[in-house]
Amino acid sequence: MTIRLDQPSAADPPSTASGADPTLDAATPSAPPRRRFGVFHPIVTQPGLAVAVLVVLLAVAFCVIPAAFTWMNPYVPDTSAILAGPSATQPFGTDRLGRDVYTRTVYGAVITLTATLLAVSIAFFIGTALGLVAGFVRGIVDLVLMRVVDVLLSVPGLLLTMVIVSALGYGTTNVAIAVGISSVANFARVMRAEVLKVTQADFVEAAASIGTHRVAILLRHVLPNSMSSVLALIPLQFGSSILAIAALGFLGFGAPPPQPEWGLLVAEGRDVLAIAPWISLFPGAVILSVVLASNRISRALQPVRGL
């Protein structure tokens, strides 16, 4: 639900959400110069980051080859083992139909992470394109696009996705689309701010002054140089999208049962929290770990500043 609070630009020049205002952006004195780190270098020096990468890799592995992690079936009820607590063979316990919660969590990764991927892709491609065009073309196009972004920002993530889902209908794909649309603004704003910064850089102005074509400048100089901040946003969005999709699943707007979508798994244990807390808590812990891990990775990718 904290979909777009935490973004690199938040620490950037103070500009309200409604205002990726060029005047404010450009004029902030406190923005320090940026240094960039290689992508893999920090893993070696930071054990926390290494764990985070491992967690995300594991989640992705769940998603790609779930059968390698469990020999049980996530769908078939077993009336002989209803509401059994965690044990050596069933580490997460069983649910009301006797299904293994661990197995369901593993298979749930397929649904939740695929939906997350879809959501982030939508947000990334549409948002980046909007930001690029707005920041590079400027003028009236910028004005109109940024007002659209403002409208998207003016309704908080969860509410916006709920409204979109109520229009599109329930289901994982619709939830993913809704979460994607509601995160478009994040990418658009960051991308635009970066483009504005880059186009004012000396080397771009130099390129322009020697008569390089505008499209060439856009593709050769502006795009590659403004991507790093946007790319750093991806793992962050990945984390918040998992939370958003799970929240909607929890509310019952997402995948229909018996699909083991993560939010739905938590919701399934909601009513029996007192007598069988494992049904909610283990999938909840898995969500927490994966989101935490992707946020950690995002932080490592962010340009380091200060100190």
Binding site: T79, P257, A274
Partner: protein, 566 residues
């Protein structure tokens, strides 16, 4: 009081001799759930709270937690479960229906009769009844209420809320000050039950002042004026509703065995939507009584010394209606296979709680006219299900899902999110069907699906409709009315099917029983219109609160309820 359980089984046995074992179960379920709170014996003697803490104490406030909240204070709008439960305590009915036998007894009406066609009902009213504003309840009140319920009032902004429930309503004639005649354009056998009904679509009598208030004014507590044992004083939407006792109330139905006003001074209905919080609040003593107790919590609460008041919801058993207009559920063998693959006795054994019951018919056990099909058309037999599909030419495809002539045995169904165990049983049925090559996709919250889409795309539609009368089959499944099974216009023998259903309207009481059996035979044996899953229940839990009463429609009546230690 102590005789109640035996009476239950004895009466039911007489009425429903086809299912002696079934009643045994109910009595057992009732006993395990310590169902010791019926206010009176059948002879009308006031109960002396035997087994639940001595003589009734007058006074006190009851805090009562539940899941929902009345969506409105207007009893004629309240169609939700909480709404009907709340308004059941501020209004009275013409007749009182016995929750076990289904028989009617006097309440606001002392006498009632009907013509042979069942198009005209005459009620003779009690003469000592007043609304809480002091005005008299009389024949004109009945007429004004029925007229407005049916027609609405555009000038006041009141919608025709009762139109679909009153059926072929024609008019009400004031015959005398306390005699009233209700006329219909067609036979309406179920009207008698409707005049005692307290669930969705009930008839609530309101004072003239209320009827003349605009839709908006009508929602203020001081304008909601009924004849019931309580009056509403406070209403905070979705948070709490407060009702207080009417001290001059003296027209309780004799069958309830309670004379004079209610015991409690005040009842505060508190909405706690989250199930685990509701039970937690009960366990921590924050509230002494709570409704909408989840099946999973029943055992725990009983073990902790809470008294449970539980009853099966009378009416439809919860289950699927098949869509006969859509392939492949237009194939009767597919329908039969699905019914055979539903392990109703197994649900009762492993998944359901004590208070819930095995489905034995499209009707719940207590509805007059119920016939038991558990050993016949509704028998669980997975091998038979497989064989039916094999014989009908549905062959397993490459992905394990059966197909025939290029049509996959893939079905779409709706579920129910309000009844927690519906999810569990539907998922179990879904898994069982999957194991024999039938793929079912279930949408558990169907409220956002438009009706046209339901009939055009869904093979299985959840149904659980409450009403303690066999008429519920007519409203829901009659091809000329609700047509819940979407029987197409060119269906063979359609006219005969309609006629069989319509016949329900033409008889009352014992004469109706063979007609009810004919309809159930049609539904289960001949056409296979539904796949019942189980009988849902309503459960209240309490400590130190006595005689919480669930009426024939499973709605609460607090007339006889009292709290100890006040």
């Amino acid at each position: 009081m102590s005789t109640d359980l035996t009476v239950t089984s004895a009466r039911a046995g007489a009425l429903l001799s086809s299912a002696p074992s079934r009643r045994g179960f109910l009595a057992l379920a009732g006993a395990t759930a310590s169902l010791l709170l019926i206010g009176c014996g059948p002879d009308g003697e006031p109960a002396v709270g035997a087994g639940s803490g001595g003589a009734p104490v007058k006074g006190g406030t009851l805090k009562f937690a539940w899941l929902g909240a009345p969506e409105s204070l207007d009893p004629q709008i309240n169609s939700s479960f909480a709404g009907a439960n709340f308004s059941n305590n501020i209004v009275d009915r013409l007749l009182f229906q016995d929750r076990d036998s289904g028989e009617f007894s006097p309440w606001l009406a002392t006498k009632w009769e009907h013509n042979d066609d069942l198009t005209e009902y005459t009620f003779t009213l009690r003469e000592d009844v007043t609304f809480s504003d002091g005005t008299k309840f009389n024949a004109t009140s009945v007429k004004n209420n029925l007229d407005q319920f049916f027609h609405g009032d555009e000038a006041l902004g009141i919608l025709p809320n009762g139109k679909s429930y009153l059926g072929p309503y024609k008019e009400t004639e004031v015959v005398g000050d306390y005699v009233v005649k209700v006329r219909f354009t067609a036979p309406n056998a179920s009207f008698l039950q409707l005049s005692a009904h307290s669930g969705t679509g009930n008839i609530s009598f309101l004072a003239d002042k209320t009827l003349k208030s605009s839709a908006e004014d009508r929602l203020k507590p001081e304008n909601v004026i009924g004849t019931g044992p309580f009056t509403v004083t406070e209403y905070e939407p979705k948070v709490r509703t407060v009702i207080v006792r009417r001290d001059d109330y003296k027209w309780a139905p004799a069958a309830l065995g309670h004379e004079g006003p209610a015991y409690l001074d005040k009842i505060e209905f508190i909405t706690i939507p989250e199930a685990s919080v509701r039970v937690g609040a009960l366990q921590s003593g924050d509230v002494p009584a709570a409704f909408d107790i989840l099946p999973t919590d029943e055992k725990v609460l009983t073990a902790q010394g809470f008294e449970l008041t539980a009853r099966i919801n009378p009416g439809f058993t919860l289950g699927w209606q098949f869509n006969l207009s859509l392939a492949p559920t237009n194939d009767i063998n597919v329908r039969r296979a699905i019914v055979a693959a539903t392990d109703r006795p197994g649900f009762k054994k492993t998944l359901l709680s004590d208070s819930e019951g095995e489905a034995r018919s499209v009707l719940t056990d207590g509805v007059p006219g119920f016939v038991d099909y558990s050993q016949g058309a509704l028998k669980y037999d997975l091998d038979l299900a497989k064989k039916l599909l094999d014989d009908a030419g549905w062959q397993p495809g490459a992905d394990g899902i059966r197909e025939k002539d290029g049509v996959k045995l893939k079905l779409k169904g709706t579920g129910n999110i309000l009844v927690p165990d519906a999810r569990v049983t539907y998922e179990a049925t879904q898994a069982a069907l999957k194991s024999i090559g039938v793929d079912v996709e279930i949408v558990f919250d169907p409220r956002n699906i438009p009706a046209e889409q339901l009939t055009a795309e869904y093979h299985l539609a959840n149904i659980n409709r409450g009403r303690n009368d066999v008429a519920v089959l007519n409203t829901q499944l009659n091809p000329d009315r609700g047509n819940g099974a979407v029987i197409p216009a060119d269906f063979p023998d359609r006219a005969r099917i309609v006629k069989t259903f319509d016949a329900l309207d033409t008889a009352i009481g014992a004469a109706q029983a063979p007609l009810a059996k004919a309809v159930q035979d049609l539904i289960h044996e001949e056409l296979v219109l539904v796949d019942p899953q189980f009988q849902t229940s309503q459960v209240a839990a309490a400590k130190g609160v006595h005689n919480i009463y669930l009426d024939a429609a499973d709605r609460l009546i607090f007339l006889d309820t009292w709290v100890s230690g006040t």
